[in-house]
Amino acid sequence: MVFERIQKLREREFETEPSICLERARMVTEFYSQASMEPFMLRRAKFFRYFLENKTIYIDDEAVLAGNQGSRFRSCPVFPEVTAWLYDDVDTIDTRTADSYQFMPGEKEELKKIVAQWKGKTFGDYTRQQIAPEVAEMVDIGIFTTGSTNVSTGSHAPAYYDLVKYGYRHYIDLCKQKLEAMEDMDITSLEQKMTWESMIIVMEAIIAYAHRYADLAEKMAEECRDPERKEQLLTIAENCRVVPENKPQNFHQAIQLVWFTHLALMLEVNGQNHCFGRFDQYMYPLYAQDIKNGVSEDFIMNLVHELKLKCSDLWVLRNQTESLAYAGCPLWMHMLMGGMLPNGKDGCNELTDLILKSITEMPTKAPVMSFRYHDNINRKTFRLALEAIRSGASQPAIFNDNVCIPTLLSLGFTLKEARNYAFCGCVESIVPGKTDFNANVGYFNPVKVLEITLNDGMDPLTKKQVGPHTGDVRTFTSVEQIMEAYKIQEQYFVKYFLTTFDKIVSCHAYMLPTIAASCFVDGCIDSGKVLQQGGAEHKYSAAAITSIANVADSLAAIQVCVFDKKYLTMAELMELLEKDFEGREDMRQLLLNKAPKYGNDIELVDDYARWIVDQCNEDIVHFMDGRGGRFTTVYATQSYNVVVGRLIGATPDGRHSFADLADNASPMNGLDCCGPTSVVKSVSHLDHFIPQNGILLNQRFDPAVIKGDKGLDILESVVRSFCNMKGEHIQITVVDTDTLKAAQKDPKSYQNILVRVAGYSAYFIELDKQVQDNIITRTLQQGL
């Protein structure tokens, strides 16, 4: 049962427009104006301490958890020292169509002044200087994006399983021991010394920040006349004295510790993608102990609800393009349930069930709820997960142990570590507390590369010769020749794509360390290096590959229509594409209808999809990233398929110029017409073991098809079959088209419809119209 206080908090979420909080921007500008010769690492740590000492704190009237990101409910902090684009975008933050934020009176002008002071001197400016002019051109054309340029690195899950056992003091002591053990100093050990000192400063600062909340709660309790509320406030005070410094004594304190830690990662830098790992596992001992001591399930359930609402009130300010590409302000905070234990047995427990029920009871856009499937999964728990999906929450996403564990073994983890995996980003597997992952390499766009290939290395829209000459396709006599040419183009662009990332990721080590996050990842304290300096035991970065469906469909259309059945020549095809099929709708229909499309379980075209996955991966994985990590691939788009579609002309699959591309690794919208089993077959035709960081499949079901017990059986069969055929990930939105269209017309009445965009859910009404339309055109799997 959702408590009244939680209900109130949730209603306020819908009622309050997000706004910009200037507090941090002011403080960072003020702090960095003060003269200092201190090394950058210590200076970052001290600024963070200064910020936590002075930022506004408050406790919501209904809350029993303390800690907020902004100085007000639903307010988004600004990082003027990090984001170079802010100078250009500041004017439209409150007027843009996607993820807009309101300003408090006068604060827009103030922000402009602040931003002007940082102009040309931000982190983003420095990373921009690393990008060669020819690379900037490739980005403009839409071949790839450059990730991590205006944002700190995130993509990890702290060692929460240890944190709830020890508290921060244990980690501070570890740093102190390291400092005490230091003997002679040289330039390397000085770097280590500064790192350990910075870590201590940061951890002490978070503890002191918690104590500020304890003081506030005590003060509020003194003034409170409602005895029940007074009791709650005193509990908050007590909890904030105990955690995060010490080991939590109960579930409430543990969840407070997790929240303070998560919040600290969000406050320190403008990161995203900080994950909770296997929440149902590390919290279980405290849950079991509390239940034994007579704490009610309802109380625990509502603590979980409150944490979910807290997560829904976290923000990262993005520029115009990214706001559209990452529609709905996702932060990819995965909270993982289910899966096998390190010993290979099923890990489902009563807390797993409770959290799954909490999704059905009160769905929220964050955190991202995920569920690990394996062959011996507890069926009752698995069906609870499916029920949550069916309830319209669009969560949890289902991940497959059968695929993820072997891929993690191939990344060098031990079997027990691999079995303990969790998620970051959209669908990327990591081992919590042991991995420094980067989900933000950028998007590589094979559809654009194909377009350039078809034009002998020239971008047909800008007429620039960006790639090498690989031949006039009008003279080609087979698809294989096109694929060979594609390979050469791809390898050419991949090199620029990855080496640019290497430069950018190196900047992070000297400008934008995540010191708090480094404290809780194995290897960093030991080596005296933060994550950005390569401190973690395991590190890798995933390059995202977009919209493989359009490449597969295009190659199949060329094979069938040009070379096999000879409906037209390559020269005629190129003319059609150049003119966007103008006056030749019949030929566009030919390409659409006479050639098979990915998503219908037809081997001819699915083989091309399989090829492109393999080819992209092969061209990428032999590079090493700038901090000595490996590269992996992930086949996902977020809603970038809408943005980048606007940069690509007509394609041989019959797609018009500038139209949306296919989302993620899903079939092209509307072109999968044989039902969900065929989609699942096509997607599992890809080799899911090859991209070590996953393949993202979105499916939308008509609620009418999966109603009742039989409906749940259908859902279960589809998901189980997908997992048995070694698919990595499937996520399902359950809502019909009429409802989505009604929500577009009357948003107020449909505030709580959650849809799956990519590796995250968003409230449908909060999305930009273009993204809404894209989701509506995704094929709805109906009753057959």
Partner: protein
């Protein structure tokens, strides 16, 4: 001859199933929702919604049988000689062929694609139509193949076929749906073109052979929805040992557009689907008859 293969079907048998529709039917029910299932030959269907107005069909038809009407280019079915040229040149798929000949191997390959889903859901294949039993030789071969390969086989039939010819298929059938539209043979003849004696005999024989049967009656208001018909069928069912369930199906008019697509008229313009109350009362009447027999009647909303 097959006119459709439909994956991931949930309404005709347990679990997730592939439905294989045989083309051609000895009955001619006025309400048939799949009029393309009636003829044993390939036919041309038309969809004006898909037409892009390129006019190639009008220009190229060797018989000049495609004429421009208000609804766009339309086949004059009297002049059409079914050369299928228009379907080949219609890239938009507005004119298309229904009906395709398969070899047993080709058909099995298509059925086997969803094997994983059958095993996960206790599903399988359902042969439907048209009337699969009148293509007994081919049906036996494909059913035998599926059975041998461990795929659950169901059959949906109107029951109008020669037992001696189709009995070869029965060893490979796990369960059947059999339609019974009316218990009165004369009314049955009026509605479907044939009397029901052969059908009743076949139901009895198939039951004796040992195949579990579900009897189905589509409820068509004004045609066969009298209570006496339903109770009459229920009385018959009581005498058949291997019939466990009696399912009533509510008439729907989703097939109407297909008549247009085939250039044919639709006789049931004015018929509306039966109300839930009407369906409930028919189910209750049948249940009354079946009480104590271990059989029951139901319908799915």
């Amino acid at each position: 001859m097959i006119f459709n293969i439909q994956k991931c079907s949930v309404h005709d048998g347990d679990g997730l199933r592939t439905l294989v529709f045989f083309k051609g039917c000895p009955l001619g029910c006025k309400w048939c929702a799949n009029p393309e299932s009636q003829s044993f030959q390939q036919e041309i269907m038309e969809s004006s919604a898909k037409c892009i107005g390129c006019m190639r069909c009008v220009k190229e038809c060797p018989e000049k049988a495609v004429v421009l009407t208000e609804a766009g280019p339309t086949i004059d079915r009297k002049s059409c000689v079914k050369c299928f040229h228009c379907t080949e040149i219609c890239y938009a798929g507005a004119k298309y062929v229904t009906g395709k000949a398969y070899t047993v191997e080709e058909l099995f390959e298509e059925i086997e694609k969803d094997r994983m889903f059958y095993s996960m859901s206790s599903g399988g294949v359902t042969f439907s139509g048209g009337e699969p039993l009148v293509q007994a030789e081919f049906l036996t071969r494909i059913a035998e193949k599926c059975h041998e390969e461990g795929i659950h086989v169901m059959l949906e039939s109107c029951g109008y076929a020669e037992y001696e010819k189709f009995k070869t298929v029965l060893p490979f059938i796990d369960a059947m749906f059999m339609d019974l539209k009316h218990i009165d043979t004369e009314i049955h003849r009026r509605l479907t073109g044939r009397g029901n004696q052969l059908i009743l005999d076949n139901i009895r024989k198939i039951s004796e052979f040992g195949v579990p049967i579900t009897i189905r009656t589509p409820i068509i208001p004004g045609y066969n929805d009298e209570k006496l018909n339903i109770t009459g069928i229920a009385e018959f069912i009581k005498t058949i040992p291997n019939v466990r369930e009696y399912e009533l199906l509510a008439y729907h008019n989703l097939g109407e557009s297909k008549y247009k697509a085939l250039g044919r008229g639709y006789a049931l313009h004015d018929v509306r689907p039966p109300s839930e109350e009407e369906m409930d009362s028919l189910v209750t009447a049948a249940e009354e008859v079946l009480k104590g027999s271990g059989k029951h009647c139901f319908y799915i909303k």
